[in-house]
């Protein structure tokens, strides 16, 4: 059995790693979604974190953990600076502003020398291990789960429900928005740093528009309302190509089409995401009201 598990890991280790990293990225977006803000900038924050961590490792020879923290910090600072002006925008407009920011980051990475341009930043040691990813993920998930019961968590959820009402209860909406945005950016930066140290290489294309959209997909598919929702979403979407491969759906357009179809079915028939399969979010109340 142990041998089989080792074999399983040998084949699916990288999928498992990517599930962990994508789940972290999904959680980073979930922090802002929890407060009702749709950001498409988290992929760019991950890119910032990845580049920063990579540069710290390659040029400054800093140890892995320090580089990771540096990456998260850089992403967090940029998030803070960006958050102040853009967070008065709402809905699609916030999404577009963060998207524009993401594009500018990507184009900067293409044109700068220190990032290695289009070829990307190469020579980053591969030191991210599966256990590091999952330890971080567990920590982040625990943080998110606990956050819910803290002052910050209550404020964020209140803002999602009704900003004006929240303000009239003494919640400083702008402040908490910026805090949430910055925390999200830091988590994304951390994930980006781990990604860079997993792949030997980080390129501008690893964090473009479509990746930003993927993060949203993870959240919506998994469910945004509970901490494990984004993780489930990231796991399903990341593993989907492998699962389809496993059940013999041939490579190419067909697999791509089935991928899209499954995404469509989830969104149509599981309004609260995959998480709603595992837990009716409020079983007691739901039963009480229909009784």
């Amino acid at each position: 059995m142990l041998e089989q598990l080792a074999q399983f890991y040998a084949v699916y280790g990288s999928v498992i790693n990517f599930i962990g990293i994508n789940a972290l990225l999904a959680l980073s977006l979930n922090v802002t979604l929890a407060a009702g803000m749709l950001s498409l900038g988290n992929a760019a924050f991950a890119g910032l974190g990845g580049y920063a961590a990579g540069i710290l490792t390659i040029y400054f020879k800093l140890p892995y953990v320090v580089s990771l923290c540096g990456g998260a910090l850089v992403a967090g600072i940029v998030g803070l600076v960006l958050g102040l002006p853009v967070l008065r925008l709402r809905g699609v407009f916030l999404a577009m502003a963060t998207l524009a920011f993401g594009e500018v980051v990507r184009i900067a990475a293409v044109n700068l020398d220190i990032t290695g341009g289009a070829e990307g930043l190469t020579g980053i040691p591969n030191v991210t291990k599966t256990w590091i990813i999952y330890l971080t993920l567990a920590g982040t998930a625990y943080f998110m789960a606990v956050l819910r019961s803290s002052k910050l968590g209550w404020a964020l959820v209140s803002m999602r429900e009704d900003e004006t009402a929240a303000a009239c209860l003494g919640i400083h909406v702008t402040y908490y928005k910026v805090v949430a945005f910055t925390i999200g950016a830091m988590i994304a930066g951390l994930a980006g740093g781990m990604y860079a140290h997993l792949n030997y290489l980080i390129t501008p294309r690893d964090f473009g528009f479509f990746i930003a959209v993927d993060l949203l997909i993870y959240n919506i598919v998994g469910g945004t309302r509970i901490w494990y929702g984004p993780i489930l979403g990231a796991a399903l979407i990341t593993a989907l190509p492998e699962i389809l491969r496993g059940v013999g759906v041939t490579a190419g357009p067909i697999r791509m089409g089935v991928n899209g179809l499954i995404l469509l079915l989830v969104i149509l028939f599981l309004p609260n995401g995959l998480a709603s399969i595992f837990a009716r979010v409020r079983p007691a109340a739901a039963k009480a009201e229909t009784a």
Partner: protein
Amino acid sequence: MNLLAQQLVNGLFIGSVYGLFAVGYTLVFGVLDILNLAHAAVFTLGGLVALWLVQTAGMSIWLAFPLATLFAGLLGLLLNQVAFAPLRKRADSQFSGLISSIAMAIIFEAVAMGLFGARSVRFPQGTVSVHIWHIAGVTITSLQVGIVLVAALLMVVLTLFIQRTRIGKAIRAVAESERAAMLLGVNVNGIIASTFLISSALGGAAGILYGLYFDALAPDMGRSIELKGLAVIILGGMGSIPGAILGGLAFGLSEVLTVAITGTSNLRDAVAFTVLFAILLIRPSGLLGRGKMREA
């Protein structure tokens, strides 16, 4: 040779293409407040189906064009039925609609790839005859002129349609207030479906013109224009039809002028998106946006 004049012509042309793509995009947003991210996939399929009609079915482009446009419109109906209508009552329909339209975009792209292959394909030589004019050092092709004219024409027709016709007014009424329109006897579901029909037909038409001019159609060609289309409708003002055209021109010119002024093209996209970012911060409703603000 007049460098700047040529660049302005270039900008005008590519701007019209952006505008044409964005008009359909913005129409759906104006009516439903929903971004249809499958618009780019419809754009692609419109072009590819026209190509199929010309190449395989041996039609003249003059027949293939309206047929493929109609086909794209029907794709819009399908989109509405499958991806949007079931979600309309949901509280988070803005987000979930985004995702379901992405799912449809993936499916459409897969279908395109399955049917047409991944390779770039092109309209046969001579599908339309191209004249090239050199006027005072500025080069203009008949196809460019044609595309700018078609874009202008479609915009005028669409504006008149929305302003003057019964269905156009019903579309505006639904955009103003679904409930009011319903109480006035407007078949709201029907109007929403027709909006998708028109929007997607315009997207498909844009795809055909794009394919004709650039001589290359590929299943993923919508991807590169999708992001620019988003920028254009923000720039012009979400939901505004003249805004989409104006935004398209502005975006096209900003790209071209960046190249003309800096002499290199490294910063082209960076400038365009920085402008977009600035517009959002200064005037979120865009150049010609409706008064309806969506910011705090």
